[in-house]
């Protein structure tokens, strides 16, 4: 996956570029809005990481300009402005996700992978499959190795999100934002309890676990083989 980082703060940029390169991505860096826009227009990137406050052209205008040119490259906005209204403005401008500084690198990586993957799927899916776990999105039927699994509506959405991002790390914040659709700080790790309940249903009576905890980051649903 090829990533363009548009960030004027050199220490933040260095940290992102180095981290992503270590994680095996191909990364380019632009230090201002104009240079960033020129590079992005080349159209070779899978994901853009755009700082909101940039010299010459600010992050939101940059994304807006690309969207007007019908460039749909997924963009992750990073910003120190963390209010919900700021986030809404960012997403309205055409951003695909919004991450508030300072952030844990694991969070950035998980989100970059999530929006990078989103681009691969063009046709709307009707079913999801991870090894022997299958989900029918139309009938809301879930089976593992042919056994029917009964899920609550919220558990279904949780599993759907995890399966759509199978093989990727999904952070707790991503789950809160996408499955529960609220932006808030949970006091306790209430998400963990939901995950362990889901685990009871999809993993407990089977040979191997699909839903795993990634320490210091979040969860991952994947085929262990």
């Amino acid at each position: 996956m090829r990533i363009l980082v548009i960030e004027d703060d050199s220490s933040v940029a260095e940290f992102i570029v180095k981290g992503l390169e270590d994680a095996g991505f191909n990364v380019d860096h632009a230090a201002d809005g104009q240079q960033g826009l020129n590079l992005a227009r080349a159209g070779v990137y899978n994901v853009l990481i755009v700082d909101r406050m940039l010299p010459q052209i600010d992050g939101l205008s940059l994304i807006q300009a690309l969207r007007e040119e019908n460039d749909k490259t997924p963009a992750l906005i990073i910003s120190a402005l963390g209010e919900v209204v700021d986030r809404v403005k960012g997403l309205k401008a055409g951003g695909d996700d919004y991450l508030v500084k300072p952030f844990a690198f694991a969070e950035l990586q998980a989100r970059v992978e999530a929006i990078g993957r989103r681009n691969d799927v063009n046709a709307p899916e009707t079913s999801l499959k991870v090894t022997d776990l299958e989900m029918d999105l139309l009938t809301h039927k879930v089976t593992r190795a042919g056994t029917n699994i009964m899920l609550q509506p919220r558990e279904f959405r949780l599993l759907e999100y995890l399966m759509k991002h199978a093989g990727q790390v999904v952070t707790r914040t991503m789950l809160l934002e996408n499955v529960w659709d609220y932006h808030f700080d949970p006091q306790t790790n209430v998400i963990d309890v939901h995950i362990s309940r889901l685990r009871q249903k999809i993993d407990k009576d089977f040979d191997y676990a699909l839903l795993n905890t990634v320490r210091g980051a979040g969860y991952m649903l994947h085929d262990p083989q």
Binding site: G19, V193, H194
Partner: protein
């Protein structure tokens, strides 16, 4: 509303005291006028009667009884405004001449004054001017004189017009006082009303400012008197100072939290990188450190969030939200957590109020409430969340409708003397310190959010357990 306040207002009381003082001054003034008037009036009566006596004596000395008769005739014909009554009598008080029938029985007062009542039915000199008003029996005032040959003279006049004049003066005095009091009261009420309106307006502004919008200032109205304008200007200056110092504090705490957050994140990220490089048996240690850093970061985020909400003009994210849906989501999110502790969590929505608020913030505050309830309630406890619409009358007797949320548990309560402090940052109820995880910011965050929504939060006793009562205003129908 204003009317009932007028009479209670300090201004009115002040005006009232002023009127009382003024009335007293007017009373004293009129009393002096009256005293002066009656003194000079009686002086005049004395002078007049004395000069008449002199006239009669003079006529007698010149021409005897005939001269006196002539004097009496000419005096009556003079047609004076004031009628005098005369009599000349011999040594045995037998009438010789005059328009009194007989020598009257009188009472003698100090200074030679005589007072008597007398029938004047046989009066040969009609009382043309006052006849209708004066009855046949009259009060007279007069003086007598004994001549050298033993004859007696008496000159008298009605006392009625003196009384009449006195009554007139008293009447003017009383009316003057009444007019002073009535006009003064009306003026007082009007002044109080004008003043009250201004005070009311200033109060309204102050209320708004207290409700969180510290940017607002009281408008300086050119119609206001200089003293009020000065008050407003000073008040605004005080607000500026207050805002400056509050912003200073906020900047400092923001900076601390912000400046610590960045290096802490860096530390966390380096630990993350390290976790891949250390021996597998040390990895858990590194992850524990990462968790520790995460919890510190969360505390800083919560602190920053509270500061932002408290200083917020950020009602940007506000809209109409369905309280029941959000509460149901909160309960649904926490159900598994409660079940893990074998607790029962019940949600009852008795109505579906629409609030004007920020969906995420409300969710956050209710999450904190339910989270606390679960944390501080023992295994097997019961947590009940209920939603109602309550109608109450405010101090102006207008109906206020608001949503009332109760979060009840049967776990640990908060001691009454600790309830006020429970909303302070980093305050942890004594009994829970070290036993229950938390950063002591949960209730502060709730309080900040509730305050931003112009709501009210109260901690009550649930016997046993805690009842949290949350009142939030409904969205207006427009």
């Amino acid at each position: 509303m204003i009317r009932s306040n007028i009479f209670a207002s300090y201004t009115f009381r002040y005006t009232f005291a002023y009127i009382t003082g003024l009335s007293f001054a007017v009373f004293v003034l009129l009393a002096i006028v009256y005293a002066f008037f009656s003194y000079s009036y009686s002086q005049q009566v004395y002078n007049d009667i004395s000069s008449e006596l002199d006239g009669v004596e003079h006529s007698f000395n010149e021409s005897g009884v005939a001269g006196v008769q002539q004097y009496f005739d000419s005096a009556v014909q003079r047609g004076d405004f004031t009628h005098y009554f005369y009599m000349l009598a011999d040594e045995d008080y037998n009438k010789l001449s005059g328009n009194l029938d007989a020598w009257p029985q009188f009472t003698r007062y100090q200074g030679g004054w005589l007072c008597f009542e007398f029938d004047i039915l046989h009066d040969s000199y009609p009382l043309s001017t006052h006849k209708s008003a004066i009855s046949s029996r009259q009060d007279f005032v007069g003086r007598s004189l004994t001549l050298d040959n033993g004859y007696h003279i008496i000159v008298a006049r009605h006392y009625a017009d003196v009384i009449h004049t006195t009554e007139l003066v008293i009447g003017i005095l009383v009316r003057g006082m009444l007019v002073t009091i009535v006009l003064g009261t009306i003026a007082g009420a009007l002044i109080s009303r004008v003043w009250l309106r201004r005070v009311e307006k200033i109060n309204h502004n102050i209320m708004n400012i207290m409700n969180g919008d510290l940017n607002q200032r009281i408008e300086v109205d050119g119609r206001n008197s200089p003293d009020i304008q000065k008050l407003i200007v000073n008040f605004n200056a005080m607000l500026d100072e207050l805002q400056n110092s509050m912003e200073g504090i906020r900047r400092v705490s923001d900076n601390i939290a912000h400046d610590l957050r960045t290096p802490l994140t860096r530390l966390r990220n380096r630990l993350e990188l390290l976790s891949d490089k250390v021996e597998p048996h040390n990895q858990d240690e590194v992850y524990d450190l990462i968790d520790e850093a995460d919890s510190l970061l969360n505390t800083f985020s919560a602190l920053l969030r509270i500061t932002r909400i408290e200083s917020a003009q950020q009602r940007e994210g506000f809209g109409k939200v369905d309280a029941a849906t959000i509460l149901a989501d909160v309960v649904e999110l926490y159900e598994p957590l409660a079940e893990d502790k074998q607790q029962q969590i019940i949600f009852e929505a008795h109505s579906r109020p629409i609030l004007y608020g920020d969906r995420d913030m409300l969710f956050q505050s209710w999450v904190n409430l339910v989270d606390n309830a679960i944390k501080y309630t023992q295994h097997g406890g019961i947590i009940k969340v209920s939603l109602n619409v309550v109608v109450e009358k405010d101090e102006h007797n207008t109906e206020q409708r608001f949503a009332r949320i109760f979060v009840d548990d049967n776990g640990q309560s908060i001691a009454e003397d600790e309830r006020e402090n429970a909303f302070r940052r980093f305050y942890r109820v004594e009994a829970s310190r070290g036993l229950v995880p938390g950063n002591g910011l949960g209730l502060s965050l709730i309080a900040a959010i509730v305050h931003l929504h112009r709501g009210e939060i109260n901690l009550l006793s649930n016997n046993p357990g805690l009842r949290v009562q949350l009142d939030l205003p409904l969205a207006r129908d427009d």
